[in-house]
């Protein structure tokens, strides 16, 4: 794939532009205004988008793509990993999505960050935010454009880092702006959970290297067919662990809802549209491996499907506008993972793209709602309608129980939100309909149990989105704040409109019969276009409409009033408590893993290492033992035996010397006599000898 024609050589700039942007902001950001910083960041991201478009154009002429070597990275023994950019239809698709949606969100963020509820006059926030955001774009680009698993991994961990930084962006607060470790906890949780996934990824990479002697995509795929089945199964399972971490699948999804602690643009960009779909991209990229093992496909599809329905049930029970969307994202990711797991790679990628559009739209609109609420709160506090009462309690602008009737206060946002909702619910002819349907159609053919689970999840999706819309925009305001909410400025709504348009028409990317996307991706992965299944489409549409009707029945016919418990609680009882509390998974994890590890660490650190090893063993055994030994040697041995021996020696010497002393009488002649004696003795000896 050494193709350097056209614009292929520009591909590294897809990373360099954002890096350039962040470096610029890092160095001169202090001197720039908020808009200046934002402009640089947007420009950087937009430049990346332009590069991506150029790549797409080049590909349309040379669909076989290219690999561009920038530098060698790790060359050890027979291990050779390079910084090589890969341009093919799959990677360019991802580039377009990431940089496109990314740029829109950058623009939105300029408006959003200006008045985020939690900024508390933090002046450095713009610089920090856009530096992180650009870094994220760069890392995401590394992820999607890498030519080997290891370069992909760099981006993989890199986006994890950005996720950590951005979730913990307001690191000294909790989500409501109170001083707390809560946000940083959420950030830490995300990073560590991701690391668990990375652990799986690493093992997969090790296995690939030792089996195939390379981690380069082409090299691996060239020989993977010769590998033994157990090797392939283990590699796919390890990859699945990685996917579960990054794309928030069971059992590692727990970090994503907490990740909503980040500013809303972050939730939209990272935790809905791009980063979390990296797992889907990874599986699609590894299609040649997954295709080889039916068991692997079965496992992946099942995990995806279970995640889809499990998260959907939780979404039903949430009150925070972003939390609902977060669980919805998990659920939709489950759809995608299930799709790519089944081998419906085109469908998975298709859903990935449309989901990026409408979920970003939803999140950003939700952000707009939250800001609108916040403006209302601000307005109230300033005009002092209700005295100091509101200053005492902390107001949560994201709580849907405080909303209601926002349709009138925020009409633009309302309509945008509606587009997103319908797209997500999967109603004809919005983007979500086409992509979701393709997944369901494939599942229907491949794995019926996955199909049924996913259909259930789709039903729930329509229901919780209906619930949300009714609660937020319809009925009467349940709080004074909602009554005073204000619409967002154009800089925020304009990108939303673009996204809304994409959500409406995104389905055109891969219409049945035309299969544009499938054909496009076929250049890279070996896939076949799925056929449109009218039966499946009808069932799901009917179910979605039914779900919306149900939600209308519950939440619209008799709109909620202030302080009223959720009507579902009456119907579902304990089950709803479970949904509300996320089925207590977090608590269970905390009890089973986190607390145990903390205890274990404490036990090791305090009891084993310090008390036992450092103090007891060192001080009592080694040191005291040594002291004891020296005492033993000093008293019984030294004084008792050695000393006595020397005493006896000394006495005998004393005694003998007292006698010998007499010899030293000072008479020269007696000395001479001794000498003479010696002479005689020696001569005598010589004679005898």
């Amino acid at each position: 794939m050494e193709n350097t024609q056209l614009f292929f050589n520009f591909v590294p700039w897809i990373v360099f532009f954002p890096v350039l942007g962040l470096l610029l902001n890092l160095t001169i950001g202090k001197k720039l205004s908020e808009n200046g910083i934002g402009a640089i960041a947007v420009l950087a991201s937009a430049s990346a988008f332009v590069v991506a478009v150029l790549q797409a154009y080049s590909l349309s002429i040379h669909p076989e793509g290219a690999s561009i070597l920038v530098a060698e990275w790790i060359h050890v023994g027979d291990l050779a990993i390079d910084w090589t950019f890969r341009v093919d239809t799959l990677s360019v698709t991802m580039m377009l999505v990431v940089s496109g949606v990314g740029t829109l969100i950058h623009i939105y963020a300029i408006g959003y960050m200006h008045e985020d509820v939690r900024f508390h006059n933090d002046e450095g926030r713009f610089k920090r935010f856009f530096v992180f955001l650009n870094l994220f774009i760069a890392m995401m680009m590394v992820l999607v454009s890498g030519d080997s698993y290891m370069m992909l991994f760099v981006g993989w961990e890199g986006v994890g880092l950005c996720s950590f930084l951005l979730i913990g962006f307001w690191y000294d607060f909790d989500t409501l702006g109170r001083p707390s470790f809560a946000n940083s906890n959420a950030a830490k949780k995300a990073f560590i959970t991701n690391r668990i996934g990375d652990f799986g990824f690493l093992l997969a990479a090790f296995m690939m290297f030792w089996q195939f002697k390379s981690t380069n995509f082409d090299n691996v795929f060239a020989v993977v067919a010769n590998a033994e089945p157990w090797v392939i199964l283990w590699i796919t399972i390890f990859i699945l662990v990685g996917v579960a971490g990054k794309s928030a699948q069971i059992p590692l999804y727990i970090w994503l809802p907490d990740a909503m602690a980040g500013p809303t643009p972050v939730s939209a960009l990272i935790h809905a549209a791009t980063m979390v779909t990296a797992g889907v991209y990874l599986v699609t990229r590894s299609a040649p491996i997954f295709m080889l093992s039916h068991d692997a496909q079965y496992i992946v599809a099942t995990v995806g499907a279970l995640t889809a329905i499990f998260a959907a049930t939780i979404a039903v029970g949430q009150y925070d506008i972003k939390k609902v969307l977060a669980y919805s994202t998990i659920s939709q990711l489950g759809f995608m993972v299930a799709a790519v797991g089944m081998g419906a790679f085109a469908a998975g990628m298709f859903h990935l793209i449309t989901h990026a559009f409408f979920k970003a739209l939803l999140f950003l609109s939700a952000g707009s709602v939250i800001l609108g609420m916040e403006r209302g709160h601000h307005h109230l506090a300033h005009h002092g309608h209700h005295g100091g009462k509101h200053d005492e309690e902390v107001f949560d602008p994201g709580d849907m129980r405080n909303m209601g009737g926002l349709r009138k206060q925020m009409p633009v946002t309302f309509w945008l939100y509606m587009v997103g909702t319908v797209a997500l619910a999967g109603l004809f002819p919005f983007a979500g309909f086409w992509s979701k349907d393709e997944i369901l159609a494939d599942a229907f053919l491949e794995f019926p149990h996955v199909y049924w689970i996913l259909t259930g999840a789709a039903f729930l999706t329509a229901f919780y989105m209906g619930r949300q819309v009714w609660m937020v925009f319809f009925g009467k305001p349940r709080h004074e704040v909602a009554a005073h909410a204000e619409e967002s400025p154009l800089i925020m709504t304009a990108p939303l409109m673009v996204l809304a348009a994409l959500s409406v028409f995104g389905g055109a990317l891969n219409l049945p019969g035309v299969h544009t996307l499938t054909v496009w991706l076929e250049h890279t992965i070996d896939i076949h276009p799925g056929e449109f299944n009218m039966q499946v489409a009808l069932i799901s549409t009917a179910l979605a409409l039914f779900a919306i009707f149900l939600s209308w029945l519950l939440y619209m016919r008799k709109p909620l009033t202030t302080g009223q418990p959720d009507p579902l609680k009456r119907i579902l009882g304990f089950a709803f408590t479970g949904m509300e509390n996320k089925w207590f998974v977090d608590e269970a994890y905390k009890f089973v893993f986190i607390d145990r590890y903390t205890d274990l660490a404490k036990f090791f650190a305090q009891t084993v290492d310090w008390d036992f090893w450092h103090e007891w063993f060192h001080n009592s055994v080694i040191a005291a033992g040594f002291v004891g030994l020296t005492k033993f040697l000093a008293n019984p041995i030294d004084l008792g035996i050695v000393d006595n021996i020397s005493k006896i020696l000394a006495r005998s010497i004393q005694y003998s010397s007292e006698n010998f002393r007499k010899v030293q009488n000072g008479f020269v002649r007696s000395y001479a006599l001794s000498v003479m004696l010696g002479v005689v003795a020696i001569i005598g000896y010589l004679l005898i000898k």
Binding site: L673, M676, L677, V679, V680, I683, G684, L687
Partner: protein, 171 residues
């Protein structure tokens, strides 16, 4: 018994007797004189053994220099006599040892040394001092120089040791 042998015995007897005289005389001056006589006899032996240079050195160095020095010191100190000299009772270990030594070495000589006869005549070449001197100043130059240095040291030493310090001076 040839004349040569006869002469040897006479001389040997003289030597032993003078030695005994030296040992037994109470007066140190007598002892010194006996010793001079003894040295003279030994010098004759040297002559008989073909070493005229050594014999003359013996006479000059011992008889002339050393013994004069002895006598001079004896006179100087006035120490001719020492009271309560030797008693035989205290002497016996010394006697026993000396006799033992004598016996041992004589036994050695008898047992180990061959009975080689030595002529009393000397060839001129052997006895001439010249080759001796050549040897002394070539092969033995270094010892010779060291010895001369030794003599110098002894001289200086003797002077320093015996020099009378004036009272009060240097204290």
């Amino acid at each position: 018994m040839t004349g040569e042998l006869f002469l040897f015995f006479i001389l040997a007897l003289t030597a032993v007797l003078t030695a005994v005289g030296m040992l037994t005389s109470r007066n140190a001056v007598y002892a010194a004189l006996f010793l001079v006589l003894n040295f003279a006899v030994v010098a004759v032996f040297y002559l008989m053994l073909g070493s005229p240079f050594i014999a003359l050195s013996q006479v000059t160095v011992y008889g002339g220099a050393i013994m004069v020095l002895f006598l001079f010191v004896i006179m100087l100190l006035g120490a001719e006599n020492i009271k309560a000299e030797v008693t035989l009772k205290k002497m016996w270990p010394a006697l026993v040892l000396s006799v033992t030594l004598l016996g041992l070495i004589i036994y050695m000589i008898v047992a180990k040394v061959p009975m080689v006869g030595l002529a009393a005549e000397t060839s001129v070449a052997d006895a001439a001092p010249k080759p001796l001197a050549v040897s002394l100043f070539s092969t033995y130059l270094l010892p010779f120089e060291i010895t001369s240095f030794l003599l110098l040291v002894a001289m200086v030493g003797a002077i320093v040791l015996t020099k009378q310090e004036k009272k009060g001076a240097g204290k």
